[in-house]
């Protein structure tokens, strides 16, 4: 399952880089959101670390919707989906491949969003910066696992982008909440009494939940019906 997933992920990343539209649209949308939010504050006002973290993760979320729609659309143009279902590998390898490609693209997008948040929202890295890699990876794992599953649900149906967003946002709320709280703790020193480690446990819990949901549900969702 891992090998075909890696082959698929590599192909998807190559295609999206060659097409140039998947990641660039997602990046532009995310940056636009950060910039628009930066206009919402007055001249002498400062955004709280929590507000800045919220803007960052909302941008990431919109970016994720576009990324997974682009990733699943790759298999629709010339009917590749039905022959992918015939490869000698578990069908979940498609879910995993898309999730891995999506994870790489999300991390690439966040490499742009982090400095944008620091600059446009006038934030500093004054909190627990050592948590940043762990937070990004754990939160993005959950976003990728859920995004890959819901990208498959939305593909091939009318108004797919809006459908994906509608399903996605409520499901991701606990994960986003944890990511926002931890993100705020990275941007500014968190209150001593707050147990931020518990938010990491929530992230890990939801990563496992979305991964399990992907493995179990994907074969029922991704089929050859057009």
């Amino acid at each position: 399952m891992i090998r075909p997933a890696l082959i698929l992920a590599r192909k998807d990343l190559t295609l999206l880089c060659l097409r140039g539209n998947g990641l660039s649209q997602a990046l532009l949308l995310g940056l636009l959101l950060i910039f628009i939010f930066s206009l919402a504050r007055g001249l002498a006002e400062l955004f709280s670390a929590q507000t800045a973290a919220t803007v960052f993760w909302v941008s990431t979320l919109f970016c994720q919707v576009l990324i997974f729609n682009a990733l699943y659309a790759l298999e629709e143009d010339n009917g590749q989906r039905q022959v992918l279902l015939l490869i000698p590998a578990p069908v979940q390898s498609i879910w995993l491949g898309k999730a891995l490609a999506g994870l790489a693209l999300l991390l690439a997008a966040q490499a742009v969003f982090v400095p944008a948040v620091l600059i446009f929202l006038d934030q500093g890295l004054e909190g627990r910066t050592e948590w940043a890699p762990g937070l990004l990876i754990l939160a993005d794992l959950g976003l990728a696992a859920a995004g890959s599953l819901l990208g498959a649900i939305a593909q091939g149906r009318a108004a797919k982008e809006s459908l994906l967003s509608l399903i996605l946002f409520p499901l991701l709320l606990p994960l986003l909440l944890a990511a926002i709280r931890l993100g705020a703790g990275i941007l500014s020193e968190p209150p001593a009494q707050e147990d931020l480690a518990s938010w990491f446990r929530i992230l890990i819990g939801f990563d496992c939940l979305f991964a399990a949901a992907g493995l179990v549900l994907f074969p029922f969702i991704y089929n050859a019906q057009e």
Partner: protein, 210 residues
């Protein structure tokens, strides 16, 4: 028996598309599947491939370890941004193969695609794309080859190449089901002809159809 269908039925909503279809296909045999537009040929072929689940009946595929099903549908399954050769490398790896460049180029040469091997597949004509699609299927030497109107849109030369490759696969022991709208011409390639009409499947020897 490589493929066995027993009383397969499929409905789209209330409408029966296939009613009680039964057939058997042995390795090395070619079955030509024919019928009018909307008769359900593609649906039946997808059922054989395991891509669509029948509403009732039983499908049995007897494949040995490592044997695979090759499905060639209406669409070309190519990634236009990749070269023809890169497309084949991708599908080969997904099918668990590790082919050398020379082996893939040899396959492309057989299909008349060698001069375009490193060109973006997006610039291929319909006929070239279909030949690349055929190469995708042939490269893992499927035990069961399912072809949905593979000759559509092909010129005479491409059609001839296609028929040669299908005959070669049959001689190598693949069971072949071939949907055709030209049973009179294509029956010569087949051992048996199946006519799908009003959801019912009737079989006759290819010589009777030719």
């Amino acid at each position: 028996m490589l493929l066995r269908l027993e009383n397969i039925a499929k409905f789209y909503g209330e409408r029966p598309v296939i009613r009680g279809a039964s057939l058997e296909l042995a390795a090395g045999r070619t079955l030509l599947l024919t019928g009018g537009n909307g008769a359900g040929k593609t649906t039946l072929l997808k059922i054989m491939a395991g891509l669509i689940r029948p509403d009732s009946g039983r499908l049995t595929l007897e494949l040995a370890e490592g044997e695979q099903v090759g499905y060639l549908g209406h669409r070309t399954c190519i990634y236009p941004e990749l070269s023809g050769l890169e497309n084949l490398f991708f599908w080969a790896r997904l099918h668990g193969l590790k082919p050398g460049r020379a082996a893939l180029l040899e396959l492309m040469e057989r299909l008349g695609l060698l001069p375009f091997a490193d060109e973006r597949a997006g610039i291929y004509s319909r006929g070239m794309a279909q030949r690349l699609n055929l190469a995708r299927v042939l490269l893992f030497r499927p035990a069961l080859l399912l072809l949905d109107e593979p000759a559509t849109g092909l010129d005479t030369r491409s059609r001839q190449t296609l028929e040669e490759e299908i005959a070669r696969a049959g001689k190598a022991g693949a069971g072949i089901v071939w949907i055709s709208h030209r049973p009179e011409e294509d029956a010569a390639m087949a051992d048996e002809v199946a006519l799908l009409e009003n959801g019912r499947l009737s079989l006759r020897p290819a010589k009777a159809a030719a």
